[in-house]
């Protein structure tokens, strides 16, 4: 027993206790504010230095990527882009060590923004229809999508939390299932036309509706909403049963709204990655072409 404990201790290496004690005293701090905006200051410093350099250093024959200063900026920019791309690996490779993804994200965001300055200065404001400009534009698009991402990350979580009301996604679906079972039983006494409406509502996949519906939360073809409307119009043979079904459909609509709300917010939180990541890959390809062509046509 104690020998097992000793063994574990040996593996733990030194410093775990002090690491843990610091961690146990921690507080919720967002990636934007990480270490009192450390990476914001570093990025600002880097950008300022690049601008000052650009202004002071006499670049011959004119400022562009081919001058020595241009090469310097280009190298920094390339290194940054490669490093920024590695976030995708860091996020998925949970190796030991005192790193945190939050610190990485913080640095990623601010250094990524600094690229606007560094990249732009690297171009020397020479824009044209070529692979070099393609790389530049791709970079700006990646950054633009990143900015959207940060805004989404900073503003949407409270809505996600409020919509959840302590329920997990599985529980939301279970709750819907429970309502559906009640509906099925309650709809038995209804007439043909009304029953069809309920059956249509029950038959519809709660995830039906394309990406647009998912992003906007608007489901114009929602069979539950239609059944509710329809029930008002069709006169009923058994008003008591119809009333019960109405109440249940109302509950179903609310449950669907919660599920759809969750889907919508999550979609808004994720959609930009479908731009950010593929464009990153395209950017890396364009950069490769850009670098090779520069050296090839030296």
């Amino acid at each position: 027993m104690a020998s097992a404990a000793k063994q574990r201790r040996a593996q733990a290496g030194p410093g775990r206790f002090s690491q843990d004690e610091r961690r146990r005293d921690s507080d919720h701090v967002s990636f934007l504010k990480h270490r009192r905006f450390r990476w914001l200051w570093i990025a600002l410093g880097l950008s300022a230095a690049a601008i000052i350099g650009y202004a002071l250093i006499d670049q011959e024959p004119r400022p562009n990527g081919g001058s020595w200063y241009g090469y310097t900026l280009g190298t920094i920019g390339l290194a940054l882009i490669v490093w920024l791309s590695l976030l995708g690996v860091r996020k998925r490779r949970i190796t030991p060590g005192a790193w945190s993804l939050k610190a990485w994200t913080s640095a990623h965001v601010y250094l990524g923004l600094a690229l606007i300055v560094i990249g732009t200065l690297h171009t020397g404001f020479q824009i044209g229809w070529n692979v070099h400009t393609l790389a530049y534009v791709l970079m700006l698009l990646v950054i633009a999508s990143g900015i959207y991402g940060v805004i989404a990350y900073a503003t949407l979580p409270p809505a996600l939390s409020a919509n959840r009301r302590e329920m997990t996604r599985a529980q939301m679906l279970e709750a819907l299932g429970a309502i559906d079972r009640q509906l099925e039983a309650a709809a038995q006494p209804l007439g043909r036309a009304e029953a069809d409406l309920v059956i249509a509502a029950l038959g519809q996949d709660p995830f039906a509706g394309g990406p647009l519906a998912r992003l906007t939360g608007r489901y114009p073809f929602c069979a539950t909403a239609r059944a509710l409307k329809g029930l008002d119009q069709v006169g009923s043979a058994d008003p008591g049963a119809a009333e019960r079904v109405r109440a249940l459909l109302e509950k179903r609509r609310e449950q669907l709204a919660q599920i759809r709300g969750a889907l919508r917010i999550r979609a808004l939180l994720e959609i930009w990655l479908f731009v950010h990541v593929p464009l990153t890959i395209a950017l890396l390809a364009a950069l490769t072409a850009h670098v090779i062509s520069v050296f090839y046509y030296w």
């Binding site: 574990r8 843990d20 507080d27 701090v29 949970i94 060590g97 993804l101």
Partner: protein, 856 residues
């Protein structure tokens, strides 16, 4: 008349019966059900039964090795020549024995039929619900024993082996008609019944699961009702209650609240409800109203237990003989829940009865190994006696108890100057000094200041009692032999030897006082206080000090934790959180005022009550102490005043603080040492924390981010809190749950997958699952899309991959181990991209600033 009657056909009973048969001893094996080994028979189908401890040799005529429940039962049936259609027949050669088994033979009483044994009177203490005690005395009679069965039959035997396990009997209904044949206490297969009106009584987990099972398939057309005595479900798991309520709403079954059974007749049942009596159709009654442990029955047989403690076991001699001569107790009932132990004891006890008292127990090599590296050549017996005689708290043990005790303990030798444990190391074991002495470094700043503890005494009791880290570094002052008593062995010891409990309590109170008030106090100074101190247990929520009251006692928190509240503007406001080791109540004692705040237990706790005058007398004697107390008091006053002042200007912030703190305490933070908290204003729901957890631990996530409660955007996910006194440890047959070097509560590989810990953890953080095969690497996934990618693989993938690899691994209990042994600490926290996930300790987090600070 048999030479021996064996009661209960669990692993202990059948091993004994087979050995008796092998020796040609006249015997009978009495089993109350219609099959062998009811406990194992009731395991989940296909359960992988484990044979731990691995280093213990099996000494039995009956075969046993790790394997499927069906295989093991199949072999045992063959070996005992029993046919049972519900267990697949085992093919292949086995050695079998002419065992005389009697099924449907439930023993209800055992009486000696010889002369009264002079001076041998059994006292049975029963406690009523209101706390009153009554004592019943039974005169013991010599063997032979008359064993009475519930069907009226009587079996006579010279010796009795009691091997009935710890399952006990289901509590029975007591209303008229309770003995009708359609009243049952168990439900094996809910699909067996169709077209019936069924009443399930009891809304614990068992009742709920039965009722839901019966109502599950509408095609069975059962009308199912479940009776709840009140309106709440205090004894059932939350998930079960939710599912039951949903079924009720869906009309699948009916919950009848505030209903009790009045009478049962064929076809009908009468219920007492709030609105009077109702009589409804009822073809079947399934009563699941808990079960009574077998203790009462065992005591009635003349068998004494070691103490009144609920966890106590029968008092036994080295040959398993109880206080009733000729009645032997083995197996789980004797305190040995592992199948291997049970089987070995079955063999041994027959040998003992057969006169072979020189037989060495099968665990001899394990115990001998524990003494191997020690100086001084002693035999195992001599070592055991050496420890028993020298360590004062072990004095009251007998040799059998010492052996059992040693299985969970270690003996260590330390050279002069060697560190035994360090300050702030986690640890809940207790140490006894068998020879030599140790030095306690009472001042962390100056290791040269030490206090000695000598031979025979104990140390480490603070860790044992409070569950908190070691308070001081302790070194061997000379060459020293200590026995390290695991938490479990220490708990057992205290329940077996009341004197040991008393000693530990005394010493711990004295040390706690010395440690807390420090500054040169001597044991003589605190002696009067120690003598007047009383240990009191407090329920969660129980008020220890009430605001405005005039009492003057001072309290020390021995285990658990307290919260301090004050009524401000007509509402209770949370002032602070006090962990174990703190004291409170000193203000009223010192300045004679009324209590300024209410202090109540956050969780089940123990406090030491010190009389206020005694405390004052000590302060008068020691001005340095007085100064310290006044300083502490001033600091507390300042905190309280700060929060009160906020109440006027920032009332809503104080309310938020107060309510959040209460919410966290309600969710187990009060007993946590390290807890995961997610701020939902930051959480983007990416589940990277879960994925990181799975990828750092054999591919299974030990945390469920979404599940769990949320208040004011603070979310407590389903993840281990690493409790100070882990509930999960309470009932683990192989003692697989331990506290590791980083303070984590972890489960080691000896887990047998019984699921007890999962049931015992109040926070639902333990899951039972099989370790999945390895996934293709991250690179392979990123480049070629091979494998399921990062995080826990879906169940279908795991199943398929396991099949491809051959047999699926056994299900074991898995839970958070705080990423012990991994540099950098918990992966969930490191993998959170936004800073939403942190792991904290309650004493650091439950403060006004942390709970009210905004994050963006």
């Amino acid at each position: 008349m048999y030479k021996v009657a064996i009661i209960g056909s669990g692993p202990a009973g059948i091993s004994a019966a087979a050995h008796a048969a092998a020796l040609g001893m006249s015997h009978v094996l009495l089993e109350k059900t219609d099959h062998l080994s009811d406990t194992i028979f009731k395991y989940q189908k296909g359960k992988h039964v484990m044979a731990t401890p691995a280093n213990l040799v099996l000494r039995s005529d009956i075969a046993f090795e790790a394997g499927k429940r069906e295989t093991i039962l199949g072999i045992w049936n063959r070996q005992l020549r029993v046919e049972n259609p519900l267990v697949p027949r085992h093919e292949g050669p086995v050695s079998d024995f002419p065992v005389n088994v009697k099924f449907h033979a439930e023993v209800k009483a055992i009486r000696g039929t010889g002369d009264p044994i002079p001076g041998s009177v059994q006292q049975i203490v029963t406690r009523a619900r209101d706390g009153s005690r009554s004592v019943k005395e039974i005169q013991r009679h010599a063997p032979p024993y008359a064993i009475e069965l519930t069907n009226g039959e009587v079996v006579m035997a010279e010796n009795v082996i009691l091997a009935i396990g710890t399952q006990g009997n289901p509590n029975r209904l007591r209303c008229p008609g309770a003995d009708l044949p359609h009243v049952q206490y168990q439900l094996d297969d809910p699909t067996e019944y169709v077209d019936e009106h069924i009443i399930v009584i009891g809304t614990g987990d068992a009742g709920i699961e039965n009722a839901r099972g019966l109502a599950e398939d509408p095609a069975q057309r059962n009308t199912v009702s479940i009776l709840n005595r009140g309106t709440e479900f205090p004894t059932a798991k939350d998930a079960n209650v939710k599912a039951l309520l949903a079924d009720h709403e869906a009309g699948k079954l009916t919950i009848r609240f505030e209903s009790e059974t009045k009478a049962i007749e064929p076809g009908w049942i009468t219920l007492a409800t709030r609105d009077g009596e109702v009589r409804i159709r009822c073809d079947r009654v399934i009563a699941r109203i808990g079960s009574a442990p077998p203790r009462a029955f065992v005591e009635e047989c003349g068998i004494e237990f070691t103490s009144e403690d609920r966890g106590a076991f029968p008092k036994l001699s080295p040959v398993f003989e109880s206080t009733a001569p000729g009645i032997f107790v083995i197996g789980a009932l004797a305190g040995y829940p592992l199948i291997k132990h049970c089987m070995n004891q079955g063999y041994d006890v027959i040998e003992f009865i057969n006169g072979n008292t020189a037989l060495k127990p099968a665990d001899e090599p394990i115990i001998a190994a524990k003494f191997a590296g020690l100086p001084g050549k002693r035999s195992t017996e001599e070592w055991l006696e050496f420890l028993r005689a020298n360590v004062s708290i072990l004095n009251g043990m007998n040799p059998l108890q010492m052996r059992e005790f040693m299985l969970d303990s270690e003996v260590r030798f330390f050279r002069a100057g060697e560190v035994i444990f360090e300050r702030n190391a986690p640890g809940s074991s207790l140490f006894g000094i068998a020879s030599g002495s140790v030095a306690v470094e009472v001042n962390p700043a100056d290791p040269s200041i030490t206090v000695p503890i000598g031979t025979g005494s104990i140390f480490g009791e603070v860790g044992l009692i409070s569950g908190r880290r070691r308070g001081a570094t302790i070194r061997a002052a000379e060459d020293t032999i200590v026995v390290e008593i695991s938490r479990l062995a220490a708990l057992k010891l205290q329940s077996q030897v009341p004197a040991a409990k008393k000693t530990i309590e005394q010493i711990s109170i004295e040390r706690q006082l010395l440690q807390m008030f420090g500054s040169g106090l001597t044991p003589e100074d605190v002696a009067p206080l120690v003598a007047a101190a009383r240990v009191e247990e407090k329920r969660a929520g129980e008020v220890v000090i009430a605001e405005g009251a005039e009492d003057k006692d001072v309290f020390i928190i021995r285990r658990g934790s307290m919260i301090v509240e004050k009524q401000i503007g007509g509402r209770p406001v949370f002032l602070s959180y006090l962990p174990a080791g703190s004291y409170f109540g000193e203000m009223a004692a010192i300045d004679g005022s009324a209590r300024t705040a209410t202090v109540k237990a956050a969780i089940k706790s123990e406090v030491i009550r010190l009389p206020g005058e005694g405390f004052l007398a000590l302060l008068d004697k020691r001005p340095a102490l007085r100064e310290r107390a006044l300083k502490d008091m001033a600091a507390r006053r300042a905190t309280n005043a700060f929060i009160e002042s906020r109440k006027d200007s920032f009332s809503s912030a104080v309310d938020l603080y107060s309510e959040t703190a209460q919410f966290l305490v309600d969710n187990g933070i009060g007993e946590a040492t390290d807890v995961l908290l997610i701020n939902e204003t930051l959480c983007i729901g990416c589940d990277n924390c879960e994925r990181a957890c799975a990828d750092s631990h054999d591919g299974l996530s030990r945390l469920d981010r979404e599940a769990g409660r949320t208040y004011a955007h603070l979310h407590v996910p389903t993840s281990c809190r690493h409790c100070e006194h882990p509930h999960c440890m309470a009932d683990c047959p192989p003692n697989a749950i331990k506290r590791g070097p980083d303070g984590e509560v972890f489960i080691d590989e000896t887990c047998i997958g019984c699921g007890n810990c999962q049931r015992n953890c109040p926070y639902g953080v333990i899951r039972m699952d099989a370790k999945p095969p390895k996934k293709p690497s991250l690179l392979q996934w990123m480049l070629f899309g091979k494998g399921p990618g990062p995080g826990e693989a879906p169940y279908a993938w795991r199943k398929k991959a396991a099949e491809k690899e051959g047999a699926q691994k056994a299900k074991q209990a898995i839970k958070c181990d705080m990423c012990s042994g991994i540099d950098g600490g918990p992966a969930c926290v490191r993998a959170c991209p936004t800073g939403a996930a942190i792991r904290v300790s309650p004493d650091k987090f439950l403060t006004f600033t942390k709970l009210t600070e905004d994050v963006e």
